[in-house]
Symmetry: C2
Amino acid sequence: MYRTHTCGQLRIEDCGKEVTLSGWVQKSRDLGSMTFIDLRDRYGITQLVCDDTTDKSVYETAKTLSREYVIQVKGLVRERSSKNNKIPTGDIEIEVKDINILTTSKIPPFTIEDNTDGGDELRMKYRYLDLRRNCVKQNLELRHRLAMMVRNYLSNENFLEIETPFLIRSTPEGARDFVVPSRMNPNQFYALPQSPQQYKQLLMVSGFDRYFQIVKCFRDEDLRADRQPEFTQIDCEMSFVEQEDVLNMFEGLIKSLFKQEKGLEFGKFQRMTWHDAMKYYGSDKPDLRFDMKFVELNDVFQGKGFSVFDDAELVVGICAKGCANYTRKQLDALTDFVKRPQVGAKGLVYVKYNEDGSFKSSVDKFYTPEDLQKVAEKFGAEKGDLMLVMSGKTMQVRTQLCALRLEMGSQLNLKDPFNYAILWVTDFPLLEWNEDDQRFYAMHHPFTAPNPEDYPEKLDTDPGAVRANAYDLVINGTEVGGGSVRIHDRNMQLRMFEALGFTEESAKQQFGFLMSAFEYGAPPHAGLAFGFDRLCAIFAGADNIRDFIAFPKNNSGRDLMSDSPNFISDEQLEELYLALKPVEK
Amino acid sequence: MYRTHTCGQLRIEDCGKEVTLSGWVQKSRDLGSMTFIDLRDRYGITQLVCDDTTDKSVYETAKTLSREYVIQVKGLVRERSSKNNKIPTGDIEIEVKDINILTTSKIPPFTIEDNTDGGDELRMKYRYLDLRRNCVKQNLELRHRLAMMVRNYLSNENFLEIETPFLIRSTPEGARDFVVPSRMNPNQFYALPQSPQQYKQLLMVSGFDRYFQIVKCFRDEDLRADRQPEFTQIDCEMSFVEQEDVLNMFEGLIKSLFKQEKGLEFGKFQRMTWHDAMKYYGSDKPDLRFDMKFVELNDVFQGKGFSVFDDAELVVGICAKGCANYTRKQLDALTDFVKRPQVGAKGLVYVKYNEDGSFKSSVDKFYTPEDLQKVAEKFGAEKGDLMLVMSGKTMQVRTQLCALRLEMGSQLNLKDPFNYAILWVTDFPLLEWNEDDQRFYAMHHPFTAPNPEDYPEKLDTDPGAVRANAYDLVINGTEVGGGSVRIHDRNMQLRMFEALGFTEESAKQQFGFLMSAFEYGAPPHAGLAFGFDRLCAIFAGADNIRDFIAFPKNNSGRDLMSDSPNFISDEQLEELYLALKPVEK
């Protein structure tokens, strides 16, 4: 038996017990007549002590121990003379009787501490050592707990977890597929699923009215920071439901996770239409941890001779409470911020509502104090506030102002990661116009049902204005999940394909088996999927999903630890009837 | 709201309630003045009735309903006049008030019944309809329940479910990998995991001392019946444990599944060494639902002038209770059975111990009744028994006799699928000699630890005789899971690689990152994996795993429903720097 207890288990009540522990040497301090060793395992750290009462040969062994050696120790639990109240085992220590070195270790390339000296690349290359760090380990423990809670919640609600295939058919619509050459069907390929979308809809056709799956999905996209080629979804679908049923069910799930994991309770989640989200926050995933709602100002700013505003489709601003004392330098920095190519604005107008009741703005020569007073009234601004105003094409300026709003949120420390602001965004547009291809694309996917109020009339007259029965769950400005009511009527589906520029034939080629299935009695159904990596990060108050994945890939899709992907043998290529083409440099 | 109740929910107590149901039309019987409709959903079937009290237009709609239409019905629950005690809703029916056709259906290509008229191919092509059949649906429900039980059991035992990557590095050892071309790293490939073996060992190095995962694995092998290119494992690993700890932990898991799902309780699982399994049952996965243990007979059969037996390395037989009345024809059929190329024996000797105490054998001219009496004593045979004897090279004849034993088990109806005979097979050989390559291969995998009693001495003197700390769980003659204690000592690992004919360099190339990890303090660890598809089939008493997979592939690795794999576009190939090579016909 390698151990009687773990390194996180022993307490003052255990004093006097003979125990055996196994673990890693976290550190060792040789004080001449005494040696202290911190022994670590998944559960905690226990202090070991050797002194002049220790058997000589055992003491000699203790002195040879180096960081990250794996050892087994027998000894007696005793009360510490100087207690450590920072760790649960801090009241006791082990009087060492015997030490067995299980395996030695080279000096690790970085310290196994929360504040490690290892850089990103090094930690990724030695991910197995990085995972020994308490902060990384805790992320995976959190992930396990959340996954269990999700499964138990949904299973109790009569959902079945059903595994869908990983080797499926490649479909050109959507993001780019990873493909898998088939040896048994030469020159043909499987694709890895971008999501189980079509399979879960088939399961609805099959009568499994409540399906879920925590499942890996794959997208061969150019990776931005914080995007992984393989990622995990909580994928869900229900039959005989309307949008309201879906929102209520999954609101219940999310509330249950917050309650169980963090002891937090929420009332009914706020709902906001996509239209309002864009109008008031310039984003389909508004961060509601702080206010700074957009105020539209065309009526008070236009017609006073300031041509930038006069010519703009929209003049819109936010009010930063208590920021009238911003210096010239700070204001210039904000202007520079919105002028960065990532934001792309031409400029920024400020109006200070000073503590003494006077106004100071960057456009004083166009506006009288009375004009600015009216502006302040529109904002509901008070003395001491700073108003920041932008103008331009409606959707463009909204996006730009959104960037500024989020920047102000950061500057004013309004983005506490543990202050959770949760909302549903609803009524997304059904279609999105693509200027390059001069066609509409499905905003969600081609199976999304239109809002019955807008169908069929508006699809003919004003396709871009048709709302979808689609919804996203947004937490702290991040889209955590989303879904839609699906089309279950074959004629409506054909009508949709038409609007998306598919011929019946090209639609059949891509979605043939789903369309065939719909000929045999499809129930009304709807669903959604959550990004599980992201959800874990949000629960931990973290930004980067990579820390919540045991073995993540870097931004080039490489695993630095196993040096993968890599070249395969000529025999492998031969068997697959594949040849490599040279890569131009 | 599409429904107030499901089709499996209503009981006699609900009579008088106004309800709304939704589901599929299972069948419709028009009796002239009355129409009965069976409405089906995932939860059951409810009978609907229209008669002369029904609104005329509703009755007209009812008459248009055809099989598999999806409808919504409003009506009144009432007691049936003629009850059906075969279904839980059999006491009630719904007096129809309104019918809303949600979607129509074409006539399905086969009947949606347990005994369907659809053949295998047709059912695979329309798998979404096949899944509507109660018997197939129940398999997936069972699978969901078992997965939940496994997760809850292991989670309660402090195991963490940790997701390992699907896009990994290809390693030539083991079965053939499926590979995935990388677009971002042109000419390089990922592989899909055959199992998370190396990653779970890395997690042990990281200190996660109890890991599990229910996970898809991939093998590009020529498919035998009942093998799938993608399959699901319950993958587990533990640190600071010995073999005994692992066997006890997972014996507990399996017992808990049988208890929860089937109400069955088992004592301590039998254990049998690989050596005994081969000696007494001719198989490393003996079916212990019935006896017919092998009896070795060299001493009683040899030296009497029957050269077939005299020249054989092993003479061995089984005793079939009460089969002395087998006819000539039956005995010939058994001889034909063992002579089939799949079994490959030269012949079969029988000895009947007749009810009158006389003997009749196919080798009477070589053996006296006294000789045969001794044979009967070796078997412990009684009057009325039939002894079946074979001879040849030891391992070969054991395998052949095993086939005969299993055939006799079938003929005598001794293979009740719900009579579970469970055992651990232990002490597998570490190495397996491959005649073609003239080298040893790891029987389990190259990280399996040798039995300490046989290491290091025997590895030098008699490598084939070295036992491994490896174990399989066998239920009803099927290997359900298996695993081993792993090597955690780097020097022992190098010594093993040497025995397997790896150079240090070639080992590094294949297992480099695991070997590097082992330099930084690997704990003693061990694990195992269960075949989850197979486990589900065993719980359902079924033979074929395909029925426990929602969307399986056929024996050519094809999905007939989506017609996958399939050709991909030139653009896709272009982006991946791949060219197809022509396939010779």
